[in-house]
Assembly symmetry: C2
Homo-oligomer: 478 residues x 2
């Protein structure tokens, strides 16, 4: 295979005649990947052994077998070395800058959100920290094969800047919440903060700006409705935490007759196709039907949800009902990982446990959820999530030569149950090589090491003291 | 720190005078590890920042702070580069050669053990496959920081040979089962097969031979009693699957009044301190009390148990009751991984889910279970499982410089929730460096690549056909 590519490349050069200009005119593509097992994740879940993917500008222009090597010539060729070529993974729920705090508060704090998370953020978050932490997080994502992530946090303009420097795609939702936060001194200040951010990035090739009302119990009815109207005006997504905890509706300030947060969203008129709900652990059949009817996205965060003992979402039921179900890690203080590798196995295993059925959610379905599923949850399935002609060139190559990847009978099983982030060899986003042979091509980790060490030492002592206080605070939700 | 070590090494050379003999006499150790955060996992769970571990022959002769560098000199020094230095992990339940089959039969087969596992083994297992697959598995283990594993399989003499070539420590239990198997044409032939194996390895520095009756429903009462007597005569462990499935006692050929497999083992007089039970998912309070009273070991396999939808063992209850609880992966067809990294997070998260309590099984306790816990389960806690003077030098270094390891506030949380196998930098077993800076020092993966590719292609087609048949077979246990 390698020899064949070489021969073809040489022919291309020969055919192109003499001189640099003539040679460049011969190229009809920018990048060709060959010699890999291509998982297209198209509607037929087609797998192409010895497959080829051809990229021009930011798009995939051909996917097929080795015959494509006779039709396309590009200045850059990547030999997948018998590895797996697949769509970049989509982490559809995150709070990436919280990577600055990951590993903190792990000593057994029951009331962790209110007694630890929020005070830590109130004290330590800054515009600069969000920028620097996003860079670290985006490098971690790129190195582990996540090409798109969706995020709910603050100072989303800083996140956008850092994400673009690393070269990833992101849906960035500016948080709206009823108390003052790092980028808004007034309650609900995120609504205003988001406007210039949305306007700046509305047509960006990598960033999709969004609104992110925190939850039904931290954002009023009026503000949810205002955000819904703005999201329609701007045509942007709305990311929100829903049904992460039992009986969230009981904590709504102005309750309606709704018996669940999903019913509440529907009743107040904001549950629509722009909404992407994270968690959805406590969903009745009726809630699921409402979500499907609204064509809303749902993000299943299996690892974070069991680490935090919150439960297992009915993801298998929703997946089988052809709903828009993607996978997420939740923030780095919840699952401590930003990549999806462990989450893949949790995604399957937690459904098997819930249904006491080892035959459900087979590896192929997990990979579907991690790629096109995430794209559907974010309503981006026309752009990303599979290797098909016309889609954005968001592609990863996973090597299968390491001991942990051997043998590799079934590529889906190898990915879900054997692979770890270090097996990702190459990451391409929007046609641009972000990492190749594990070498970052955009920002180097060493470029940011100092800034990470600086925030780490600034946070460490404060966090230790806070932990002692928080561990005494017992209730989960107060 | 690096400079200091250099100065000290130079002093050692200067002090040692002239000539090779004089210099060597100056050394009072063989290997010194410095500049790491040492997790001793001793009774006080002492952590030593900028710690030092000193090794002579196969043993740890000193553990402490940097002052030790003034007392000890060795020809080999390893700079841990601010990484984590900890006891090698113990995978206390495995069927390592099944790595030859990992990734097979993942298409949703309910009756997987009887309709897929056993027919696959019957057709494809051989002495040679067991040897070659063990080598692959042992490399995978060494590269991921497992220094000791316990195994139940066939041709344990081949496994011992391969394991020693790679340089790991293992407890190898020869399987005894009521039907003919690869190394025994007669039912229960493993009893005889084990004798020369046990006699050969009884005093081996790395291999602990053992008996492995498969389960109460596949081994008769008389044979369990015979094995118990032999294990006493030889003073070797007895590894057995217990309470992996509900109501195993109903499938016993000559039932007693016992209402559980543990009660049965106790009634027939074989439940003693040499027994190590794997799984223990369905254990009553009384079962747990019997196991504690017998001082038996228990191995919790959280990832395999949820992947197979068998359930969650009461591991937290047994751990708190000071029982001998270790961690295992089960075989590579069950969890598909031989290392413990993912299992660490499952170990905590499944208990949190089971108890609906996010404050239990904090990362420190998980690491305890993965090291000294495993040693206790195997009754080897006087030899391995912690970094203490007099113990065998089974040590790993985990780097903390990669993006996925940053920041690292709490070493236990970093290990349980951030690390993956590729972060293991160095693996030392019985004082010998098996891997350093991720380079294997014993066998290279490339040395065995051809043999792996050979068995992979031999197995692939047969497995595909078998899968079609097996998928139609519906019952879990028949």
């Amino acid at each position: 295979m390698k020899l064949k590519s070489l021969v073809l490349s040489v022919s291309a050069v020969l055919l192109s005649g003499c001189g640099t200009m003539a040679k460049q005119q011969e190229y009809n593509a920018d990048l060709i990947i060959n010699n890999g097992q291509v998982l297209t994740v198209n509607a037929d879940m087609q797998v192409i052994d010895d497959g080829v993917v051809v990229v021009k500008n930011d798009k995939i222009i051909a996917v097929g077998d080795e015959k494509l090597l006779e039709q396309y010539y590009a200045p850059k060729n990547i030999d997948a070395n018998d590895g797996i070529v697949m769509p970049g993974m989509i982490n559809a729920h995150n709070h990436l800058p919280m990577i600055a705090f990951r590993g903190l508060g792990e000593e057994g704090i029951s009331n962790r959100l209110f007694a630890y998370f929020f005070p830590l953020e109130a004290q330590k978050l800054s515009r600069e920290l969000i920028y620097n932490a996003t860079k670290l997080g985006a490098i971690d994502l790129a190195q582990s094969g996540v090409t798109t992530y969706a995020d709910m946090y603050y100072h989303m303009d800083e996140m956008a800047k850092a994400t673009k420097e690393v070269g990833l795609r992101a849906v960035l939702g500016e948080t709206v919440i009823k108390f003052p936060v790092v980028d808004a001194k007034q309650p609900y200040g995120g609504i205003q903060y988001a406007k210039p951010f949305i306007e700046e990035y509305q047509n960006d090739p990598l960033i999709t700006p969004a609104y992110a009302p925190h939850a039904v119990y931290t954002v009023s009815k009026e503000k949810l409705q205002e955000i819904n109207q703005l999201s329609e005006d701007y045509d942007v997504p709305v990311l929100i935490h829903v049904a992460e905890f039992p009986n969230e509706e009981a904590r709504i300030k102005d309750p309606t007759k709704a018996t669940s947060p999903v019913e509440y969203l529907e009743e107040i008129g904001v549950l629509d196709e722009r909404m992407v709900i994270a968690h959805g652990i406590h969903l009745s059949q009726h809630d699921q039907a409402l979500l499907k009817q609204a064509d809303a996205g749902v993000v299943y965060n299996p690892m974070a949800n069991v680490k935090g003992a919150t439960g297992i979402a009915p993801a298998w039921d929703m997946f089988r009902a052809d709903m828009r179900v993607g996978l997420g890690t939740d923030g780095p203080m919840s699952s401590n990982q930003v990549d999806l590798w462990r989450t893949l196995s949790y995604a399957a295993n937690m459904q098997r446990l819930k249904h006491s059925d080892r035959t459900i959610m087979i590896p192929e379905q997990v990979i579907e959820m991690a790629t096109i599923g995430g794209a559907k949850a974010l309503h981006m399935e026309d752009e990303i999530g599979s290797l098909e002609v016309g889609k954005k060139a968001d592609i990863i190559i996973v090597e299968t030569q390491s001991a942990n990847m051997m043998p590799s009978y079934d590529p889906y099983a190898t990915l879900v149950y054997q692979a770890n982030p270090s097996n990702v060899d190459t990451t391409i986003v929007n046609g641009k090589v972000v990492m190749e042979q594990r070498q970052m091509k955009t920002i180097q980790l060493d470029d940011i090491r100092q800034s990470v060490e600086a925030f780490e030492s600034d946070i460490a002592d404060f966090a230790k003291e806070l932990s002692k206080k928080a561990i005494k605070s017992k209730s989960l939700m107060d």
